[in-house]
């Protein structure tokens, strides 16, 4: 069974529209959770991390926000999409520390 699930698989959205991406972790208790963004053909940029429910730390400000409503769930959102938000969004988890991070399958976002 897959440990980490991201939804949706892909989104095409208009500039100025809202966005909500989700990530669920199965079978891991109190994981650290991370959001990354990857431009096409580019490197991975860490956006947010969370070590516990209700607590989220921002690493890079890209007019995005994140929340952790449950131990196994991490949400990435914005009220107004920009063209520059296009890319590949990846959720990752780790246990006990920030090393050994395991990534989900990602969500491909296209903003038009």
């Amino acid at each position: 069974a897959q440990t980490i699930h991201q939804w949706p698989v892909a989104e095409i959205k208009a500039v100025g529209s809202p966005l909500s991406l989700g990530c669920t972790i199965k079978g891991k208790s109190s994981p650290n959770l991370y959001w990354y963004w990857q431009a096409t053909g580019g490197t991975l940029q860490q956006l947010f991390y969370s070590i516990t429910v209700g607590q989220v730390e921002s690493v890079v400000q890209l007019n995005l926000s994140a929340s952790r409503p449950k131990d196994d769930q991490f949400i990435l959102s914005t009220e107004k999409l920009l063209l520059s938000h296009s890319g590949f969004y990846l959720c990752a988890w780790s246990l006990g520390g920030a090393d050994e991070q395991y990534f989900g399958p990602g969500t491909r976002l296209t903003v038009l």
Binding site: N32, Y34, G42, T43, L44, Q45, Q46, Y49, I51, E57, V59, L90, A92, A98, D99, E100, Q101, Y102, F103, G104, P105, G106, R108
Partner: protein, 113 residues
């Protein structure tokens, strides 16, 4: 400021050859270095990692060589196989309790058909 640098940007070898992917860093507080393998359209997968107390880590055909003094490391892929064609990312984590994993720009690796 690019804190983790990778070279070359792309690398092509013959099947069966050994490939060497390079990585260097600037922040002396980095003490954990994972390498990730990413296929197109997929999330990166943790391939192999090393801590700064070691100078070598081997896992099958993949070996990391680490030089702390020069702040350099390399990933060696021996007996390269078609299934190894992917982008490889070097990353680094400080030993300060930070949760910020910094990635290099990646090396796109492929085999000559």
């Amino acid at each position: 400021q690019q804190q983790v640098r990778q070279s070359p940007q792309s690398l092509t070898v013959w099947e069966g050859e050994t490939a060497i992917l390079n990585c260097s860093y600037e922040d002396s507080t980095f003490n954990y270095f994972p390498w990730y393998q990413q296929f197109p359209g997929e999330g990166p997968a943790l391939l192999i990692s090393i801590r700064s107390v070691s100078d070598k880590k081997e896992d099958g055909r993949f070996t990391i060589f680490f030089n702390k003094r020069e702040k350099k490391l390399s990933l060696h892929i021996t007996d390269s196989q078609p299934g190894d064609s992917a982008t490889y990312f070097c990353a680094a984590l400080p030993g300060t309790g930070s949760n910020r994993l910094t990635f290099g720009k990646g090396t796109k690796f492929s085999l000559i058909p």
